[in-house]
Symmetry: C2
Subunit: 197 residues, 2 copies
């Protein structure tokens, strides 16, 4: 069975892939808009982990709508949610038996409801897997510590492969660096650099 | 890190244990009322799988209340839910770093809400893990088929180690075999007999 795991190079999507690895042929799939170097950071992480990698370019109109939403809202949640749903749809259309992501039990965004998951599954005849849905934040951190080498830094400084990098770049382009600081709260990002020996 | 996985000998709790196995020292924990031979069936399955095993005897008053609820309701859902919550509380008090179960995304019973999970975690300083919470029925079946040897039979015939066996025995004792047929819908049970080569 082949699983396409939406992959940013961060610890959550990496741990999701490790959980599936004994059961599925895992491909790490980066989905982005090609406006930052997010895809190449994700590819480097995939290589360090020893998983096959695929990059998908998402529809630019989805990015434009997400940027509009984020600037209107003043916070990124709804914009990121819409990009994540679009990314799952696109990976689901790639012919995998299952599409997976790294959403956790305690995540506020993105969240995939059971109804949305079942709709995706029915329309694409695919399984949607969220291997971390049954794990809280502390358990995820413990499992990551036991298995992965990770770098941490504020999101402004750490280049990794999630939507945030692309959306920040687009907002900077369109509305300036101040708009990025206003809409994206400062938080610590992680980037996986390899497996722990 | 040590995880106690609530274990019935069925495919769901077994798959939950396999998912955790790369990250935790897993012990399979049977929780029952000692009124059927459920614990010995679970122990045999644990041995076939090669995991350490522990049996916990639950408080009899919880069984009595569950039987009352089931006979009043005419269906087992609420009774089973209360037994499952009690079982998680009891395993959480055993000193593991994490307590886990085999509840799936599409399960109607038992279900553990995020609020209930966080309360358990806070009170016992433990992680609650539901490794199958992010997997639908078909994905679970595919993962089981790929890794486990399983027997299937109607629940009346197949002796395994879940609460249902004990609750059926108690209802039979108290209200007769007709009451068991009236309250427990016929469904197919599975029992794990080992790992696939």
């Amino acid at each position: 069975m082949r699983a396409g795991v939406l992959f940013s190079g961060g610890k959550d999507s990496t741990l999701a892939a490790l959980l599936l690895d004994p059961f599925y042929e895992v491909t790490l799939v980066h989905a982005g808009f090609g406006v930052s170097d997010a895809a190449s950071h994700a590819e480097a992480a995939a290589e360090a982990l020893g998983f096959p990698f695929e990059a998908i370019e998402l529809d630019r109109v989805v990015a434009e709508r997400a940027v509009e939403t984020i600037l209107e809202d003043g916070f990124p949640r709804n914009g990121i949610q819409s990009v994540h749903e679009h990314a799952l749809e696109r990976v689901a259309a790639e012919g995998y038996d299952a599409v997976a992501d790294g959403t956790r039990r305690d995540d506020r965004v993105p969240t995939i409801s059971r109804a949305w998951a079942q709709s995706l599954e029915d329309r694409h005849d695919i399984d949607y897997l969220s291997p971390l849905a049954g794990f809280g934040r502390r358990a995820v951190d413990d499992m990551v510590d036991a298995t992965l080498e990770v770098e941490e830094a504020p999101s402004e400084e750490l280049q990794k492969g999630d939507y945030e990098a692309d959306l920040r770049a687009l907002i900077r382009e369109q509305a300036g660096p101040e708009a990025v600081r206003e809409t994206f709260p400062d938080h610590v990002q992680t980037r996986v650099t390899g497996r722990r020996e």
